[in-house]
Symmetry: C2
Subunit: 501 residues, 2 copies
């Protein structure tokens, strides 16, 4: 007979799963299928359901159940992990006074549309009061949670368990020291990359077929994973057996959708391959955002943008786009999709400059939370950093400090995960390459055979879901302690070769 506490725990987890499922489906539907003016009724429903989920989690019975579960878990590592994960979620809410929590929810609900209006032309001043309140609230919340720690580190830890400011600083320092000189060198003496053919008409029907081809090569089971279209690509795992990915087709840019599908496909593979024993528990799905991003980046960049894989994809591409790719060589295509170019918009950034965008946000949000930067001074600080790191003048806040929704949602401390994910991916790749032996992985990619790579990633990471601590999973994925040198070496190697430096 199953332990009574475990039965109760699983019952709570399944209930939380159901509310999470409904909320995820609502947001997925909103982005892919809902009529444009359907917001009001969705918001009413979402408020009721999120309140019900809150009430399920935060109450004395749950608190007592979690204490019992932690005490009784003993050798049952999975049960211990479930109790720990639930306790984290409980603490994240319950340690904040209920009034404060409710006020914060309302604040974010106002901040998102305020941010939207500001971005659409209203200007930063219309969003600044909301952001000031969000920063202050997050600082207070961090103090409730861990009064003795740097409040920004408490926030980092919310998204990436165990991540410290010292880690982050060291990581970004190293990136800065690698990327900035590399970019400068490319500007000074890089061999020009041909990009003229990128901007032309790419028939949408052929783009759709390309997306399906990539999903097939990734081995995404169409019985459990479907592709839809949305303004911004995303992955939503409703449960292990139902993962939705989206892309956005652009008539004059096929690279965008190609690599969106490759990226979201990486997220989906992770979600689809968690041990079924985690179904309907808090251990289902990926462990942290950086680990998730490591998989999407790995499939987007280390696989999808590699010469080896593009050798496999080339016949597919030239078959789907015979006119568009006439007179373009495989090597030219490889260089074009990998070109490094400083730009204003994070989501359009290439592999090399992407981390600079993250670094700007990391440095600014750290200062905001610590109080050394006032919200009113944020746009100027933003623009200065874009000048310093990317050499660009920011023409307006819509293409500057207002471009991302994250801060309006209250997500401060979230951005570093994006860059960490890329670094985990590069290190994992080095270790896999070593494990497979010289040239083996490349040979598999060139043959379109991703099965051995996927099996290795399943072994190292996917299967565990959130059943192990993130730090342990990072070690398991990377084959050792995290070392950003793998990532910076990879970038240096790749771009030195590509630009013939």
């Amino acid at each position: 007979m199953q332990n009574q506490t475990l039965t109760e725990l699983r019952r709570l987890e399944k209930q939380l799963y159901a509310y999470g499922y409904a909320q995820a489906l609502m947001s997925c539907d909103e982005a892919t299928a809902a009529p444009p003016c359907s917001e009001a009724g969705r918001a009413e429903a979402a408020e009721v359901l999120s309140r019900a989920a809150f009430d399920l989690l935060v109450n004395d019975d749950t608190a007592a159940l979690l204490r019992r579960a932690a005490a009784e878990a003993g050798d049952d590592a999975r049960m211990a992990a479930e109790a720990r994960e639930l306790q984290r979620r409980y603490d994240e809410i319950a340690r904040i006074p209920a009034e404060e929590y409710a006020a914060f929810t309302r604040l974010v609900q106002q901040a998102v549309p305020a941010w939207g209006r500001a971005k659409r032309g209203g200007g930063f001043a219309g969003f600044a009061p909301c952001l000031e309140q969000i920063v202050a609230a997050r600082r207070r919340q961090a103090a409730c949670f861990a009064p003795d720690r740097d409040p920004y580190e408490v926030l980092l830890d919310r998204y990436e368990r165990g991540l410290t400011i010292a880690d982050c600083d060291a990581f970004f320092d190293r990136l800065r020291q690698t990327i900035l000189p590399l970019l400068e060198e490319i500007r000074r003496r890089g061999k020009p990359v041909r990009t003229d053919f990128l901007d032309q008409d790419w028939p949408l029907d052929a783009q759709r077929r390309l997306a399906r081809a990539v999903m097939e090569i990734w081995g995404l089971d169409p019985d459990h994973c479907v592709l839809a279209e949305s303004e911004h690509p995303f992955t939503e795992g409703l449960w292990r057996g139902d993962v939705r990915i989206t892309t956005h087709y652009m008539p004059r840019d096929m690279v965008s959708s190609l690599y969106s599908v490759a990226h979201e496909g990486g997220h989906a593979l992770y979600e689809l391959n968690v041990d079924p024993a985690c179904d309907y528990t808090v251990l289902a799905g990926g462990a942290t955002m950086a680990l998730h991003e490591s998989q999407s980046r790995l499939f987007e960049n280390l696989v999808g943008r590699s010469r080896a894989f593009l050798r496999h994809l080339w016949p597919v591409l030239t078959d789907l786009f015979p006119a568009q790719l006439a007179g373009v060589s495989q090597e030219e295509f490889y260089r074009a999709v990998n070109r490094a170019e400083a730009g204003l918009i994070r989501t359009d950034a290439d592999e090399l400059t992407y981390s600079l965008h993250i670094m700007v946000r990391y440095e600014l949000e750290k200062e905001l939370i610590r109080g050394s930067l006032a919200v009113a001074d944020l746009p100027a600080a933003w623009n200065a950093k874009y000048k310093e790191y990317l050499g660009l003048d920011v023409p307006d806040d819509a293409r500057g400090v207002l471009q991302d929704i994250h801060w309006a949602c209250g997500d401060l401390g979230y951005f570093p995960s994006y860059a960490l994910g890329s670094a985990y991916a590069a290190q994992a790749w080095d270790d896999l390459d070593r494990q497979f032996g010289p040239g083996v992985l490349d040979g598999q990619l060139a043959a379109g055979n991703l099965a051995p790579l996927k099996a290795a990633l399943r072994d190292r990471l996917w299967q565990y879901g959130a059943a192990r601590e993130p730090a342990e999973l990072v070690r398991s994925l990377c084959g050792g302690s995290f070392d950003p040198a793998h990532y910076t070496d990879y970038l240096r190697r790749k771009y030195t070769d590509l630009y013939e430096l």
Copy 2:
């Protein structure tokens, strides 16, 4: 200040709305967007949410609240209606012993897949035990609800408040007396209708544009109503500002999707035009299934299949399908989409024979519930009635007694609504025609101007949602007491003319 009881009532209604929204979205998503093997996780989530909605409704606090609300409503007709509607929902569940209710839910969950297997080739015998239990359970439930009434009438009343067996018998008698001789006459001496051009390639893209054209003529606001594709067409109103309709495009049949969109568009107009004061209450959406069907049938048949409207649509049709309709006259098209032909499948039936399919089901389910027909004898009884009414031999149960899912879902007493809806529509049409004056309505249809018709239907029916009793709404819609003669006269007139009898 708002009455405290009303505040509590509305709070409960909004909660029930939220759970209903989530469940409706899940079923809509399943039919339109979800991957094929995503069922298990959806079922787990649905079970939790439906249990939570059940617990919200069925408890002593709600019982007391409903008593208070009924007592305090006074002159507030809307509050009284809300209390009444909630009380109906409460009674429907609470009068049945909890054990029985739970067992029935489980039974239906097993019956639906059993029915699917039987239909796919397993044969009726595999489904019969489930159906026997369903019939017995529905009989017991009817007895819990109203021990003194005919159990089948209790079930009829569940779907169509106030509908009696006497009403139904008289209604179907009249249909039988009209339709059977008419069909016989068509067979004997009807002028043949040309249908050769229906079965050809109808490009899907043009079919999609036709669907959009119909939605535009119906005046379905694209901000609040979108069209998707699903195996079986349906309408799902998530709330007044978000109504989804679907269709199914067939490469060699354009009539099917054209009239699916016309039909579902009628349902959608009803849902979209309920008074916003009913939002998030139990009064939102259509009042009964027959009233809903009256609107879909009205737009599908009385508008969509009329000569007047087809005069308006003809240029659109010939523009979209120039090759397919070359050599076809407008009158030939009109006759082809209105041809009467006995067939085996209800959902494929034309306007004239449709009610015969319903009549078969009505007569059989009445006998099943009363106990005068054993489940084991059902297939033979079914086949005999198809021979008698439609003159057809049923080749197998998949195209016979197993064709519909309704009984497997426990829906006995539901079918008559389909036929009643058509009859309400015909009567309403006669009254509107009289009100508008001779030829006016036809002139508007021929001009593609549906605004006056829609305004009248909004006045008579749509705006009320479920805020008035169904019987009152039927009178309001029809401009008087229900009289099926309008429907039978309409059928006789239309088919005498069409087949030049």
